[in-house]
Symmetry: C2
Subunit: 204 residues, 2 copies
């Protein structure tokens, strides 16, 4: 047999990360060489250990999985990235693929499946959970322009228009226009439902 697949595991929940490390170590062609709890930590660990495959949680403090994947792609092009996620939003998948991620799976898979998928990814193939893929396709592309999405994101935590305008360095009137067009494009009643809809589709 050839040398084992060297893995980096990143997940902020110690319980999951530890358990996963233990389970994957049972497979004798897999070897966990590093663990991380945050985005930056994952990056540092990757630099230090140059793993074959990085298994990243999508939601982590610091920088999310996709962001880490982007940096990784630049710094360690040989390191394949596999993203695991609790609740898979359609848009995240698209972003992940755009960032050069090779695999995207929900946490509902079993450890056996995950081990197989790690091997698939390591072999240079891609793997995307069929259900998530179907969701992503049916959700379609975002109808929002870059600015509309940006302004909508700034509106996410309920900030008033003046604050959004400040943070986006735009005139308040412009902000309201973008918000208005985003709301109509999404078929929402107001900016807040618009934010929710965009979130659900992964467009923010």
């Amino acid at each position: 047999m050839s040398s084992p697949v060297r893995l980096l595991l990143a997940d902020d929940e110690h319980l999951i990360r530890g358990a996963l490390a233990a389970l994957l170590s049972l497979e004798d062609d897999l070897l966990v060489v590093a663990e991380a709890a945050t985005g930056p930590e994952a990056l540092a660990m990757a630099r230090a250990h140059a793993p074959d495959v990085a298994v990243l949680d999508l939601q982590m403090p610091g920088a999310d999985g996709v962001r880490v994947a982007t940096s990784l792609r630049a710094e360690l092009p040989d390191c394949r990235v596999l993203i695991v996620t609790g609740h898979g939003r359609p848009g995240h998948l698209k972003r992940a693929l755009a960032a050069g991620v090779r695999g995207f799976v929900p946490k509902t898979v079993s450890a056996q499946r995950l081990a197989e998928i790690i091997r698939t990814v390591h072999a240079g193939n891609r793997y995307v959970d069929p259900e998530l893929a179907a969701d992503a396709i049916s959700a379609g592309d975002s109808p929002l322009t870059a600015r509309e999405a940006e302004v909508l994101e700034l509106a996410a935590d309920g900030a008033p228009v003046t604050e959004i305008a400040e943070r986006a360095a735009l005139s308040p009137g412009t902000v309201r226009n973008y918000l208005s067009s985003a709301v109509t494009k999404l078929g929402a009643e107001n900016r807040h439902t618009a934010v929710r809809l965009a979130r659900e589709r992964g467009w923010v």
Copy 2:
């Protein structure tokens, strides 16, 4: 040594549940006798296997951990309940304790710690994560009246006042008054940030 502690594991993420089961099985005084992926399933499994300790995820489809705990308390008073959660909101802890839960820990603990805590809970003691406990104490009690909380909850998804009024069978003016007082009590800028704050503190 006495007979092992019989465990029920409930978590909707197969990956975590399986990994956890494997890890806890390594401890020779712990025995996983049942697993479940949803609230109702957890309940059915508990009835069928009468475990000593039920380890429940807080967020599960069907019925959340606290709901399951309440039912369990009535049907199987001898079954101790331990809740594990990803993001621990202060209010959840309070609700859980009120439901007779014996332990409450975040998923950031290690499997070793979890095993110890399971033993603690099985021995009849309680265990609450110190950090979560501190949060809960500092967050204090909800300053909202029942109606204020109700209206705030209905406002959560960005519905306009008229719709909230309809759904709550209240006059629109009354709704606005409740919203207004909730907003001032929470020190928020508007209803939406108020909803977010109340969510963070577990008051909705």
